[in-house]
């Protein structure tokens, strides 16, 4: 962590992007080429490859929702995950990342997926169920059995280390 550059410029990001597939990405973007990098390449980046949510991250930030990213998407992703991005923005995207089925609510199945990804399926189904119930019980403000964006933000606004963990350094 220590030797990594922390503030990255768009140029550096561009080179990072290009390094993923030098044969696909042209050096100049003046004529706005329509280039997309497939998810396999994005997900194999050093910053993402150990992240259990890498697929979700790529899907959320990519325009087509399947993880294939243009340069703009790529910049977008790193701008949100940069240190400078404000809490609200981060929370909004975090919500999207944890909302596996894209229904704008984090429901119990989303939570179960999250837990299983976080623990690599090492908890028993009962434990997972208990955890999910507890989460809904804690964070659900309007008692509809699922977390809306507001619930999520309300909860995340007080989290002590959300800001320090939800960012990526290049």
């Amino acid at each position: 962590m220590g030797n990594k550059q922390t503030i990255f410029t768009p140029e550096q990001l561009f080179y990072r992007y290009r390094d993923l597939a030098p044969q696909l990405v042209p050096l100049s973007y003046i004529d706005k080429p329509d280039v997309k990098l497939p998810y396999e390449l994005i997900g194999s980046m050093a910053e993402l490859k150990d992240n259990p949510f890498r697929q979700r991250i790529a899907e959320v930030f990519s325009e087509d929702g399947e993880g294939n990213m243009t340069l703009d998407d790529f910049l977008d992703m790193f701008s949100v995950l940069s240190e400078m991005a404000p809490r609200d923005l981060k929370a909004y995207y975090a919500f999207k990342i944890y909302d596996f089925n894209n229904d704008d609510y984090i429901c119990k199945s989303d939570l179960e997926k999250t837990v299983n990804k976080l623990t690599r399926n090492e908890l028993t189904p009962e434990e997972v169920c208990l955890v999910c119930d507890k989460v809904i019980d804690e964070a659900d403000q309007d008692n509809d059995g699922r977390l809306s964006v507001e619930d999520f933000q309300h909860m995340i606004a007080r989290a002590p280390d959300f800001l320090s963990t939800f960012h990526i350094r290049i």
């Binding site: 910053e47 008692n143 909860m155 989290a159 963990t165």
Partner: protein, 1031 residues
């Protein structure tokens, strides 16, 4: 003139004054006409230049030189500038009128020549130069286009002044209102526009143009309206701004609006990052906003700070980076942090707490080691008399042959005994070396200081921990935070990722255990009975073992008196054997007993620790008894040796030079001089041996009990008849209680022994260092996590309390020996004194002036000391009482907060339910309401309609509320639903009864801005907007 405008002008005045000194005054004024807006030229800027001449004169307009509106004010007094400004404002007002009619020219691509030409013109008049080049340019272009208009305008200026003044005074209030409304409207427009953007599937780029187009008509309309009102009030002839040619004043209001818009754009630029838009859209918006701001800002001369701003941003970034690096560095400096983190991630915080404790101990011992090493051992080695010069520094003749044998050294006798490691080696010379180092004093003070420092550190740590414990953390979102914020997105290394997965799993398990403990509601009577039974059993065990120890010690004392030679091996080692047998079996017994109690594992650990601690106290007791016996024996021996010494000395003198008594004493090899037993060294040796053997036992236990067992289980599992891994031997768990207690008792040994063996802290350092590595390795390699991984209490004050107790116990014998046993006569720094502490009074006599000694003797007078102690006791009592009351108050508040939070939550949930039910009701009434909505075209209509709706809402609230009164919190809940809490609870479904809003707040896909308040119709500030006003 609206307030904002005034402000703006006065802001400019600073420029004004500065330039007045140079002789010229220039003001940039910018304004915007609705016409320009239409043409997408948001700005006309122009310059008012005021020349300050030295001649007396009245304010007069300058001759209109072709490019500027230059007004010359004659002022010789800068103070009067203020007065002029007022007139100037009027002037500006007029100028606004002037420009309305003039069609602006595009100014994007302007040639350099033109600019330079302008430059020349301007420099002739103004000294204020380059920063405003652009503004000047703009203004001049436009200037040229509208000279005709100006002429006309200027003729009317005199009349206008009056009108303008009156106007500004009279209806400032109404304007402010209007302005506010205008702002609101524009704000409303913006979100809806955004929403629409988001709505469009593509979302790319195209949004901007469309929204622009959407915006323009609206704004046009609005402005039209404003202008119309203006017109009415002023009773002046003007047409709508649609027509190009006719004049229309840009009012101050619009100026203010413009300023506001600039501010808004700026804010937009600043907060663009916060918008959850696609990058392309962001870029577009940014470009547009930047262009806008640049135009206006450039004209205003505010863009000058750009460079400085960029510099500042850069520095902030650098500073942040530095801070982070520094943090990293600091973490890297914490020893074994990574190892402990790794263990914590796999074994939970309870096991990690042992290692943290071990590290803390290591730190303490480092200080102790530094004290003894730096102030006692090193000076003695460097400046004291070398080995072999004194009898106490030489191995006696009888032991010389075996002094270097390994077995002897291992036993810390022989050469090791007569070394700097032990008390006996030190000489009683008052000062040593050229530094006149007071060795005995230093020795004494270090011994006392070690113990005092330990007390201080332990107590301070305890106090700090207690503080932390008192703070408590917010656990209302415990699981949610664990789920959503525990993964560290920074992790880019597979090993770290593995650790993180493990630690998250562990922390989940810990939390689940806590949760299950909370939920567990069992037969309270049975548990209580079992717990009492368990405690009874444990007490019995303790009492039994205590009696056994007492019995055995008594017996061994009897044996010792009768002489050990008559007895066999068992009798001689009875005490040790009993002790180790007890130490081996009792903890297991306690473990079995504690399973009866069914405590939370954390509490169970404490009980276990307490019980084993009590058992170990017996160990300590026997040890100290044995030591005291030995000391007494040595003291007896010493008396005999002393007597023999005089005989030996007499024989020495008599034998060699009987006749000459005045001759210098004959040289006898120091090795041949008879010695006293030196009980201090003996005590030191005992402690060192004990420490070493303790360390060896621990290591051997680790290697055999953990490592070999793990190897056996792992590899013999392939060819065994039952499952070794999950069956009988299995892998071992990490024994927290045993290890913690081992550490604590070991530390007690150090505290007791370090006075008589200055080398003991050094040895202990070695031990702690190696055991850190060995145990870390052993845990990771051969242990399995506990069955129920539990969370350690955040402060390990329990460990600390035990440590403090042991510290107290271990200071008792040390202090007793120092104070009441005379030091040996022929070894150690205090030899020749009757008591060790006499070194203090000796120093006071010799090294301090006499008055100091007197003061000291007065101060140590019991008449002074007793009241002082009394005072201390009283203050302690007082402080204790206050702290207790604070704690209670704290607890009370915490409880209150908690209950409030719970109540809030309950209320919210209830409200949500109500809302849902109400929604079902309102679904039926919805068509009707919508119908009425459409009917009402006028203001009043909608107002009434809304009022009706609200009434209905209220009634339905009440209807819903009444059933809820029968259960739940009762009438309170009903009341609060209308009170403050009502505005907090967003029942999003009520929005259904709203007229079809284009993508409102709280709907999915809307940028998160104000999550708490969005979507709620009642308390929303933008609700009473007058949509019909547009129509």
């Amino acid at each position: 003139m609206s307030y904002r405008c005034m402000q703006h002008i006065f802001l400019e005045m600073s420029v004004f004054v500065i330039d007045a000194l140079n002789g010229n005054v220039m003001i940039f004024v910018k304004c915007r006409s609705s016409y320009c807006q239409q043409q997408k030229h948001n700005m006309i800027s122009f310059i008012v230049v005021i020349e300050v001449d030295n001649e007396e004169g009245s304010a007069a307009e300058s001759e209109d030189d072709d490019s500027k509106i230059a007004t010359v004010y004659h002022t010789d007094n800068i103070n009067s500038v203020r007065v002029c400004v007022r007139e100037l404002l009027v002037l500006i007002h007029d100028i606004n009128f002037l420009f309305l009619s003039v069609p602006p020219t595009p100014h994007h691509d302007c040639e350099d020549e033109e600019e330079s030409e302008n430059e020349k013109k301007i420099t002739a008049k103004t000294r204020r130069g380059n920063a405003r080049g652009r503004a000047r340019k703009d203004s001049e272009e436009e200037e040229e286009m509208r000279t005709a208009g100006q002429r006309r305008q200027r003729n009317r200026r005199a009349q206008r002044k009056q009108a303008g003044n009156e106007d500004s005074d009279s209806d400032g209030e109404s304007r402010k209102n209007k302005k506010n409304r205008a702002n609101q409207i524009s704000k409303q427009q913006e979100p809806s526009e955004d929403g629409e953007d988001d709505n469009k599937g593509g979302r790319k780029g195209r949004g901007k143009n469309e929204t622009k187009q959407e915006k323009n008509p609206d704004e046009k309309g609005k402005k039209e309206k404003d202008n119309k009102k203006k017109k009415d009030k002023k009773k002046k002839v003007s047409s709508s701004s649609d027509s190009d040619s006719e004049e229309e004043p840009i009012t101050e209001e619009e100026l203010a609006k413009l300023k506001e818009e600039v501010e808004e754009k700026k804010k937009l630029i600043a907060t663009l990052r916060n918008k959850p838009w696609q990058m392309k859209k962001k870029l577009d918006v940014l470009k547009e906003a930047q262009l806008f701001v640049e135009k206006f800002e450039g004209a205003l001369g505010k863009g000058k700070g750009k460079k400085f701003y960029a510099y500042k941003v850069m520095m902030t970034k650098k500073w942040m980076k530095f801070q982070r690096d520094f943090e990293n560095f600091k973490t890297a400096c914490i020893p074994w942090e990574m190892k402990i983190k790794e263990i914590e991630s796999h074994f939970g915080s309870s096991v990690a707490s042992y290692f943290i404790f071990l590290r803390w101990m290591y730190g303490i011992n480092m200080i102790l080691f530094g004290l003894t090493f730096g102030l006692v051992m090193v000076p003695e080695v460097l400046m004291g008399k070398p080995y072999g010069t004194l009898p106490r520094k030489t191995v006696p003749r009888a032991e010389e042959r075996t002094a270097m044998n390994f077995a002897t050294l291992w036993d810390f006798s022989g050469l090791a005994q007569y070394s700097v490691l032990f008390y006996g080696y030190y000489n009683n010379q008052r000062t040593i070396g050229w530094l006149k180092f007071r060795m005995p004093l230093s020795y004494f003070l270090v011994g006392v200081g070690t113990i005092a420092y330990s007390y201080m550190v332990v107590i301070r740590t305890m106090a700090r921990n207690a503080n932390e414990e008192g703070g408590g953390d917010d656990t209302s979102f415990n699981f949610s935070w664990k789920m959503f914020t525990s993964w560290d997105y920074l992790i880019g290394n597979p090993e770290t990722a593995d650790n993180k997965f493990a630690s998250i799993t562990t922390s989940f398990k810990e939390a689940i255990v806590e949760e299950q403990e909370n939920r567990k509601e069992e037969n309270i009577h049975l548990t209580r009975f079992l717990r009492v039974l368990a405690n009874f059993l444990a007490l019995c065990t303790l009492a039994g073992s205590g009696y056994l120890i007492y019995f055995v010690v008594r017996r061994s004392q009897k044996f010792a008196l009768e002489g050990l030679d008559n007895y066999g091996w068992w009798e001689r080692n009875e005490v040790n054997m009993v002790m180790s047998l007890l130490g081996m079996f009792c903890p297991t017994l306690f473990d079995v007993i504690s399973s009866l109690e069914n405590y939370h594992p954390r509490i169970a650990l404490r009980w276990q620790l307490g019980r084993i601690f009590a058992l170990f106290l017996g160990n300590l007791y026997t040890f100290i008894i044995a030591l005291m016996d030995e000391i007494n024996l040595k003291l007896e021996e010493e008396k005999i040796v002393k007597y023999n010494m005089t005989i030996w000395e007499a024989s020495l003198y008599n034998g060699t030079i009987p006749e000459n008594a005045t001759a210098p004493p004959i040289q006898v090899d120091p090795a041949d001089v008879p010695r006293g037993p030196c009980w201090e060294t003996m005590v030191g040796q005992e402690f060192v041996r004990l420490t070493i053997s303790d360390t060896m036992t621990t290591y051997i236990t680790i290697i055999i009990g953990d490592f070999l067992r793990a190897v056996f289980v792992r590899f013999f599992n392939y060819c065994w008849c039952w499952d070794l891994e999950y069956g009988f031997p299995s892998y071992s768990e990490f024994d927290i209680s045993g290890n913690v207690l081992g550490l604590i008792f070991n530390q007690g040994m150090i505290w007791m022994g370090s006075f008589y063996a200055p080398g003991l802290p050094a040895i202990n350092m070695l031990r702690l260092h190696t055991s850190m590595y060995l145990q870390c390795w052993a845990v990771m390699c051969c242990n399995v996590p506990h069955e129920r991984v539990f969370k350690a209490s955040r402060s390990n004050n329990f460990y600390m309390a035990m440590l403090l107790f042991i510290l107290f116990l271990s200071t008792l014998p040390a202090v007793y020996t120092i104070v009441s046993i005379p030091p040996s006569f022929d070894c150690g720094p205090f030899s020749g004194k009757t008591r060790m502490f006499e070194v203090i009074s000796e120093t006071l006599e010799n090294d301090f002036p006499s008055w100091f000694g007197k003061v000291f003797s007065y101060a140590s007078n019991p008449g002074l000391i007793l009241p002082f102690i009394l005072l201390m006791v009283l203050s302690i009592y007082y402080l204790n009482a206050t702290s207790k009351s604070y704690k209670e108050a704290n607890l009370d508040l915490k409880k209150k907060l908690q209950s409030q939070a719970e109540e809030n939550k309950k209320r919210n949930k209830q409200k949500a339910q109500q809302a849902r039910e109400m929604e079902e009701n309102s679904l039926e009434t919805k068509p009707k309401q919508q119908g009425s909505k459409q009917d009402s075209a006028a203001d009043q209509g909608t107002q009434k309609g809304r009022g009706d709706k609200e009434n209905k809402k209220k009634t339905s609230h009440q209807q819903e509320g009444s059933p809820s009164q029968q259960h739940g919190p009762g009438p309170n809940a009903h009341y609060t639903s209308h009170g403050r809490g009502g505005s907090l609870a967003p029942p999003p479904h009520i929005a259904v009864t709203q007229p079809p809003v284009p993508r409102g707040y709280g709907m999915p896909g809307y940028p998160p801005r104000n999550p708490r308040f969005e979507g709620f119709p009642g308390g929303h500030p933008r609700m009473p907007r007058g949509t019909p006003n547009y129509r």
